[in-house]
Symmetry: C2
Subunit: 254 residues, 2 copies
């Protein structure tokens, strides 16, 4: 898509787009991944391409839930790895938890490409976050040899690791699909999601929904995890989503 | 993406998505075309995936403007050809006007693929619309040998035909980008667009904006053109767009 000038008002959005187009050409993404990204772009446009107050609260609550879990895991798909892999590896490092590739359209080839992209990103994260170097080295990257299944989900998208998604009580899943979010909730897990559509089934069903763009909110989450001083917010996810919807309606009326 | 069951509530949307994924694999689309489609999907979702009353009015006004033009043309890009090529060729047939491929990221290879796709679709249109068979055969497909330029536009996206876009007083451009819409309006043309985002620069700048999904509104436009009995509506495009926005806000509040 060519070079994006430093001064472009939508530079961040165009850089994310470029990352995804590159990831698609490397075979990291399912066919419909770029379309899903476009849907997110539209909702982000309606949010004014900024992290709203409700999203900040959801990030704090997510940090609280992850830090106070018995056992947590970060579940990633192709878009997530392409957009925020190194930052999520750093989150996993702070939490001392694994990161697990869990994709809807699972093929051996895509899994291989994603796992090796994450291993490269783990090296990159060492340079980006030297203060947590040892913890980054310790992050386990799961997904290659699933030995468990998410109940009530058909097909290969249910495959997961018994020492990852299957046994975690709390899971951070950026960009989850509705079916799997429902299945994870049905397993009794605390499910924290990042989803730009506040009306989606995933957003409505999750325990905590961060309605924000991935590359904008993950650095804030990482910083919040590092500070490790968050308190529970007596969380009402429906109410927080309603506040996001009101924010979108205000932007529309402008 | 696999088979889509006949009963799926979002079957039409998923069929469109499949058409675009197929078109991408044939080289018909620019890198960011699937992302653009996803943005449209999100706005269509907010519209309830149906043709709203304001869109019906805009379709009627578009039909009126095209039927009463001195010289009109239908400008198509990759997404448009993939989603509604045969139907737009039929519109061109009824209007007795050419259809011109005019794309943002113009490469010789993409132009070749798009022009040959349109020629195949012209054959397909003969079977779909036997009542206007002769007119369909007469539709000229332009774009391959541009001999003019749209003023005030940089790069190959400005290339056009002197017997097509350059000399037409009225142009139907589904899925136009903001820059080119502005340039066409600056040329004094009547510009009728199809755009799912009522807030986009294209939607705001066009003479008539149909805020609707392409595969849903083009058949309605075709039928309206065939009836050839529309009157002018004393058109206020800003007011019509405002009504669409109100429709979206009502859907959000549901």
């Amino acid at each position: 898509m060519g070079d994006i000038p430093e001064s472009h008002p939508r530079r961040e959005s165009l850089l994310s787009r470029q990352k995804l187009v590159d990831a698609a050409s490397k075979g990291m993404l399912a066919e419909s991944a770029l379309i899903a990204h476009g849907r997110g772009e539209a909702f982000d446009y309606l949010l004014g391409e900024k992290t709203c107050d409700s999203a900040r609260l959801a990030i704090m609550e997510t940090a609280y839930r992850l830090l106070n879990s018995e056992k947590c895991v970060i579940s990633v798909n192709g878009n997530t790895v392409a957009l925020a892999g190194p930052q999520l590896i750093a989150c996993a490092a702070v939490l001392g938890c694994p990161i697990e590739v869990n994709i809807y359209y699972r093929t051996p080839k895509r899994m291989e490409v994603l796992l090796s992209a994450l291993m490269e990103q783990q090296q990159l994260a060492l340079n980006l976050y030297p203060q947590i170097k040892n913890k980054i080295t310790d992050v386990k990257i799961l997904g290659g040899n699933p030995d468990g299944r998410i109940p009530n989900l058909e097909g290969p998208r249910a495959n997961c690791h018994s020492d990852g998604i299957l046994s975690a009580d709390t899971i951070l899943v950026p960009l989850e699909d509705g079916d799997r979010c429902e299945a994870l909730i049905a397993m009794g897990k605390t499910v924290c999601v990042i989803d730009l559509n506040p009306l989606s089934r995933t957003a409505q069903m999750a325990t905590v929904t961060i309605v924000d763009e991935l590359t904008r909110c993950v650095p804030i989450l990482l910083e919040t995890l590092m500070q490790n001083s968050v308190k529970s917010l007596d969380w009402n996810n429906k109410e927080n989503l309603e506040n996001v919807i009101q924010e979108i309606l205000r932007n529309f009326n402008k």
